[in-house]
Amino acid sequence: MWTICRKELADHFTSIRFLLLFCLIFMVALVSTYMAAENVHKALEGVAKPSHVFLLLFNTPGKFFSLVQFVAFFGPLLGIIMGFDAINRERHLRTLGKLLSQPIFRDAVINGKFLAGVITVALVLTSLLLLLTGMGLVILGVVPGLEEIARLAVYLLISIAYVSFWLGLAILFSIVFRSLATSALASVALWIFFSFFMGFVADLAADAVRPVYNRRDLQQVVANQRLAHAVSLVSPTALYAEATGPILDPFQRSTSRLLLVTPLEGLSLERFRGPLPLDQSLFIVWPHVVLMTALTLICFGIGYVTFLRQEIRTT
């Protein structure tokens, strides 16, 4: 397994498409973070005692989007590009039969390729984050506290898990589809669907199952919203966005868009508005992280079963 992993790593780092994508992501991230830093500067003028300034760097939108939104949107592309041809490229080169007639287990092939992808993703995201942190230090002139560093580390882990899901999905498609183009298109289609259209689908589903006849009927509206929210969580993109929110913003106390607050509760929330400690933030997003891991495992499981039962013909 390690042999395969090592070869795949070498392949990733020498391939042109990886280098191109890497440069692209770096440039966009640099620009967006720079703009975010400028905005943070402006916003903080006149604020007496701001806290957790450093995290703002990552979730303040620049001109278009914040870094977190950027990773949520473009992270999948990284995973897809590294995984979509994992198995069917070997088929295409007619090396799969040869590879599997070596004394290795079949799952070692998938594991090695997945592991190599995850290591690459981890390296890319870590170096990206470190670079941006360095830039933030220079531009903002604020040194991040221990808790901020810990939050960034958690954010990094969740991001790696998120991209790994897409990597797993792409590898699954590379097993199921024999043609390179089909598996690439299938992954990209799913990516676009989850990123853009899942919101509409969730609303449609909610309207169909729990329609709102009367806008003023609170119960109907709440039921509708809850269902829409639940459906949208099928999308790993939504899961990721909600999971990273409370991690990078200690003031966020819930992942839900919809909070029922009585006037008195609202008053006390305003009064005692303070940042949550990291473990409490983690507690909020725990279900999301578990769900995301489960989705990855499901992809992997289907991939295993298909691959182990597949016949390996080279012609």
């Binding site: 042999t3 080169l93 040869k98 004394p103 016949e311 013909r313 080279t314």
Partner: protein
Amino acid sequence: MAAIIQTRGLTRRYNGQTAVEDLSLEVQEGEIFGFLGPNGAGKTTTILMLLGLTEPSAGTARVLGYDPVRDPLPIKRQVGYLPENVGFYDDLTGRENLRYIAELNCIPEPEATAKIESALATVGLAEEGDKLVGAYSRGMRQRLGIAELLVKDPRLLILDEPTLGLDPDGTNKMLDLIRDLNRTRGITVMLSSHLLDQVQRICHRVGIMIKGRLVALGTIEELARRKMGEAAGLDLQEIYMRYFKEA
């Protein structure tokens, strides 16, 4: 001599169609066995079943005493399999391709280099070993394929159409190489082909497979006697055509 490959009633069906039917066959240690038949006769399917790359629908196989369905790893450790139209990683050199195979077979370092060099020398590619495989000719690729098998010191070679698409010179070199490996190293060889004159040149025994069934098995002399009587010559082509018409 012991049977190195043994199958009993080996059968493989694909959605109702039978690719290999009730195949019982033995290959003895030390021989070159030719597996003949037209395209689509089930030769490749049989080979895949012997290596555990496809599961049989019925019947059993034993390769080197192991069951390929339950216990494929010891088989793969000792058997070199050259698929039809073998592929390589074109962006690596010949040596790098061999090294990858050596690593997958867990051959430790000083030994691996020695084996790679000796394999390249055996197939006559020592000079071209550092070129990218993408630039290799078809004959060179096929010989590199054999070199990959030699790296792991196999007891048995299974070659699927090893001379397909080679020019006459390349074909001769390949056949000589196979015969040489069998004579000097005592490696058992099973090769499939639909090119009869080649099989006749190097094989000790042949099996003829048509439409998934093994219709004949034996030395070329035996088959000739059975089909044409004593008088006839030993032309495999004629023997084959007779079987083919009957089937």
